[in-house]
Structures are given as C-alpha cells and as structure tokens.
C-alpha cells in the first residue's frame, strides 16, 4: 500500500461519509416504502395476478380448479346473458354519462353566478347527496317511487295514465336507476366544473363583453374551450364509474325484471358467490378489466393529443 499523502485524507473521509450517507438513505427508503409495498403486493398485485390465473381454470369459489385454457372465454362468447349484461352496461352509460355532465354543467354555470352565502348554500344542497351511502340513496328513492304511496307516482300517472312499479317494469327500470344514480353522484361533477370555471380569468369575459359578444357567444368562445379539459375529465371519470355499476342495481331491482337491469358485475357476483363458479366469474371480471383499461388508455392519449394543441 503506498503511503497516503496527508492532503488526501480529508477527501477520503468525505468519500467514506458519502457512501455512509448513501447507505443510510437506502435503509431509510426501504423502511419507508416497506409497509405500503407489502400491503400493495399482498392485497392488490397478488389478487390481480390471481384473477387472471383463475380465469383459465374451472375453480369453484373456494378450492382448487384445473387448468382449462381459454374455455371460460369461449363459453363467454356463447353466453347470451353476458351479451345482455354488456348491452345493459352500455345502455346505462348512454343514460348517465352525457346527461349527468350536461346537468352538472348547467348547475355549475348557475351556481358560479351566485355570490357569497347564497352560493355556499346552493352548492351544499346540490352536493349533499354525493356523501350519502348508496343504500340510503336507494331506500329513499324506493320510497319516493313506491307503487302505492310514492310521492312521484302522481307525476308518473300524469304522463302514462297510471302508476308504474318502476323497478319491476322492464322499460322503466334502467332509466330510473339512471335517475337515482345521477341524483346521487352529480355533486362531484358540479364541484369539478365549478373549480374549472373559477380558473377562467375574468378579464377574458370583460374583453369579450367589450367586443360586444352575446352571452351565448361568450359561452361557446370563452367558457367551453377553456373548460374542456375539466369536461373531458368529468366525462371519463363518469364513464369508468358507471361501467362499474353494481350497488344500485343489486339494491333496487336485483338485475330484473327479465334481466333488463342485469349488468356485468351482477353476473360476476352471481357466478362467483351464488353459483360457485370462481373461474368463470374471473373471466367475466377480466373483460370488465380490459374494457376499463382500454378506456383509461384512450383517455390518456386523447388528453395528450389535446395538450399538444
């Protein structure tokens, strides 16, 4: 070993303490991420892998199954109930996503014109249903729409000529579940849109007003383009949320009547927990999984393209 020049020593010490510090950083990082990584791996990553693996087996809900390759998926392609479920999901998306966004936009535009306490009060009233548990919402609406004593039945009778047991009627069931859902979840959209409206600089409106723009023109030339990022966010969040429909259907109509409100998660639930077909239920879950991943990726790409403009 060559003799160490006295002047080298401080540098060496600095190096030592640098690698010491690096070690300490690594140890701290490991301790800090460990709890999250453990929970994430055991209760999220593993089930994600497991649901993929199960979908290739004929496993019951509890217990081992044997590998059957793509049999579950082949069976799905020939399962008429599955097509009914997919169609009902699609129908429900049509009934909710755009309507709720339009309603939320109208409410947000009105609320943002109000001032002070009045604004706070009105916003509270519109937002409140969003914090309720789903079963409270369905209980209240089941009572509102009760065939015998429901307060809304006179309204329905005025339109159709007679009272309608809406959740037992194949034509009424999905639109009514959509109404309940929009009432329940709309506050969230209102809030996002109001935040978006607040971020539009006031002077843009003043400039537009000076140029003699009508309110209509101001909306389409100023509000709409500047609010579009939030509107598209609301649309995608709603699309993903409404594809996951289960609770309201289970509680209000249980998939009936005549499967008119049977949806994909309803079928997954029945197959797994009532018919004891864990493997087949997993294949159904995989389809939902894929649809939602595709929607999310598409949305991400669309936003990126929008961002480049």
């Amino acid at each position: 070993m060559p003799p160490v020049h006295p002047l080298d020593r401080p540098e060496r010490e600095a190096e030592m303490s640098h690698s010491n510090r690096r070690n300490r950083e690594l140890r701290a990082a490991a301790l800090l991420v460990a709890p999250f990584v453990f929970v994430f791996a055991v209760f999220f990553l593993y089930p994600t892998y497991k649901v993929v693996a199960l979908s290739f087996t004929d496993a019951p809900l509890i217990g081992e199954g044997t590998w059957v390759g793509l049999e579950n998926y082949a069976k799905l392609l020939g399962d008429r109930l599955f097509y009914t479920s997919l169609w009902n999901n699609f129908y429900f998306v049509l009934l909710t996503v755009i309507p709720t966004t339009v309603i939320a936009l109208m409410i947000a535009l009105s609320v943002s014109k109000l001032k002070g306490r009045m604004q706070a009060l009105v916003l509270t009233l519109f937002f409140l249903p969003y914090v309720l548990p789903v079963s409270v919402v369905t209980m209240i609406w089941a009572w509102m729409l009760d065939f015998q004593f429901g307060i809304l039945q006179p309204l329905i009778a005025a339109v159709t000529g007679k009272a309608v047991p809406v959740f037992k009627n194949p034509h009424w069931v999905m639109p009514m579940i959509a109404v309940v859902t929009v009432w329940w979840t709309n506050g969230f959209n209102v809030l996002l849109l109001i935040a978006g409206l607040r971020n539009i600089p006031e002077d843009l409106y003043e400039a537009a007003a000076l140029d003699g723009a009508t309110p209509w023109q101001r909306f389409w030339r100023v509000t709409w383009p500047l609010l579009w990022p939030i509107i598209s966010l609301v649309l995608t969040l709603q699309l993903i949320l409404q594809l996951k429909l289960f609770d309201q259907v289970y509680l209000l109509s249980n998939g009936g009547p005549f499967n008119q409100s049977y949806v994909v998660l309803m079928q997954m639930y029945r197959e797994a927990f009532q018919l004891n077909h864990g493997g087949y239920a997993s294949a159904i879950a995989m389809v939902l999984f894929l649809v939602i991943v595709i929607v999310s990726v598409l949305q991400f790409q669309l936003l990126r393209i929008g961002g480049r403009k």
Binding site: L32, P133, S135, V136
Partner: protein, 275 residues
C-alpha cells in the same frame, strides 16, 4: 341598474328553488320518518312537518343492530384511514425525496393501479381473505380497502414542491429521514392530510360492495350493508325505513356540514383538480 338587480334577484331565487327540489328526497325522508305508520298509509306523508313522532327512530334503534353496525363502520373506516394515510405518506416521501433502486417501477405501478377496476378483483380478494381465515372479520373488511393509490400520488406531488433548502437545514441539525417526514413534510401539509383523510374515510364508510361480500353475519356488517337487511325483516314500514336511512346517513351528513370546505377541497384534490 335596478332592473339588473331585480333580474339577479330573480335568478338567485330560481336557482335556490332548483336546489331545494334537488334535495327534496332527503326532506321527504325526514317528514316521512316523523309520522306514524298508520297516518302514512291513510293520508300519505305530508309536505310539512306537522307531527314530531319519534317512535320510528326509537323502534329502529332498539329493534335492529344499528348500534353494532355503527361501531363496525366507525372502527373499520378509522383503521382504514389511519393505515392508508401513514403508509401512503411514508411511501410518497421516499418516492419524492430519496434515490433507491426500483423507485421508478414502484411509482409506475402505483399510477397504473388507478386503471384497475377494484370490483374486478373481488373474487380473488375474497379467496385470499378466505385462505387467511379473515372472512366475516374487521380485518377482512379492512385489508382490501387499504389500496388507495391517489393518496401516494397526491402526497408525492405536495412533497415535491417543498424547497430543498428546508431539508438541508434539518439534515445539518442531525435529523434523519423519519424526523424530516414527521417533523417537516407532514406538518407543512396538514391541510392535505386532513383532506385525504376525509375522502378516504367517506369512501370507506360508504363502501357497499366489498363489506357486503365479506361480512356474512349481521353482527359483522357495516351500516350501508346492515340497513339493507332490515328491509326484509320490517315488512311494510315506511316511517321506520326512512328513520333507519336517516340515522345511517346522519354521521356523513353532519360530518359534511361541519367540514364542508375540507370535503370539497378533498374531492377536488383526489380528482387531480386544483380548486
């Protein structure tokens, strides 16, 4: 100018009326719950609260397991909130401030997990809970609900924004990473912790599907699941059903009215929108 003020006034009035119509179902539940069952069947529920009959509330509280469901809901939701926040802030701090192998991969996994529809995992999670012997227990309800990636992402964003100089000052004083996190980064972001805590608590409290699957006896149910069981045992009992619904909703309604600003802030932060 007065014409304009009159128009503004009329506009406010119309919006207020619309808001009252929007919230009418809740009001209707309230008037129904305060009447006697006989009167509802004979003359229907009234538009005005002209009777203060609390017997429906008394019956619901004594004849159902509502107190137990409250306890289950409060207990599981609180534990979920605390674990989600603590594990989330720790992980976010490491992702934001420290260099370690696998950091990028971990962050990408957390972001990607946003896309996974959680109910699609319920079959596999149920099997796992069964293997662990946790079906129909608090931990069975809690564990799968601990995955809230948005908490990690939001914390990371806020930690990223804290100037490095503050960090160096603490390190020079001999503080370690845990001191930094709990004495500097978290206290600087109390608002975020409150907001994330509220949103995590509300979604755990309101979750229906998972607790419904994993709680198999009435004594283990949370409020949203439990109240649907009463449905069958009461038969026709409108006042009692509405009393039950309102008692189940009361904690979130009161909580929302008290922490209104925080709740709205939380909703926006979790959606990635700055208010």
């Amino acid at each position: 100018m007065t014409a304009k003020r009159a128009r503004n006034f009329a506009f406010s009035g119309i919006v207020l009326i619309a808001a009252c119509i929007w919230i009418f179902p809740l009001y209707w539940a309230l008037t129904t719950s305060l009447r006697s069952e006989n009167r509802i069947v004979s003359d229907g529920a009234g538009w005005l609260i002209d009777e203060l009959n609390f017997s429906a509330y008394a019956q619901v509280l004594s004849n159902s397991k509502l107190p137990v469901w409250y306890l289950n809901s409060v207990g599981t939701s609180l534990i979920i909130t605390v674990i989600v926040l603590v594990t989330g802030m720790m992980c976010a701090y490491a992702l934001s401030q420290l260099r370690f192998p696998g950091r990028q991969t971990l962050y990408l996994l957390v972001v990607a997990s946003f896309m996974v529809p959680v109910p699609a995992l319920y079959v596999a999670q149920f099997v796992l809970m069964n293997d662990l012997g946790l079906v129909n227990t608090w931990w069975g309800i809690i564990l799968p609900q601990l995955i809230v990636p948005v908490v990690v992402i939001v914390y990371k964003q806020f930690f990223d924004a804290i100037p490095r100089e503050m960090r160096e000052a603490v390190l020079l004083d001999g503080g370690g990473e845990f001191t930094l996190l709990f004495k500097l980064y978290v206290p600087l972001n109390w608002g975020i912790t409150a907001a994330l805590g509220i949103i995590t608590f509300i979604s755990a409290w309101n979750n229906f599907f998972w607790p419904f699957l994993v709680s198999t006896s009435e004594g283990m149910m949370t409020i949203p699941v439990g109240i649907t069981q009463v449905n069958d045992s009461f038969g026709v009992a409108y006042a009692r059903m509405m009393a039950l619904a309102l008692l189940a909703a009361a904690p979130v309604i009161i909580g929302y009215l008290i922490f209104q600003k925080r709740v709205t802030e939380a909703v926006m932060i979790s959606a990635g929108v700055k208010g």
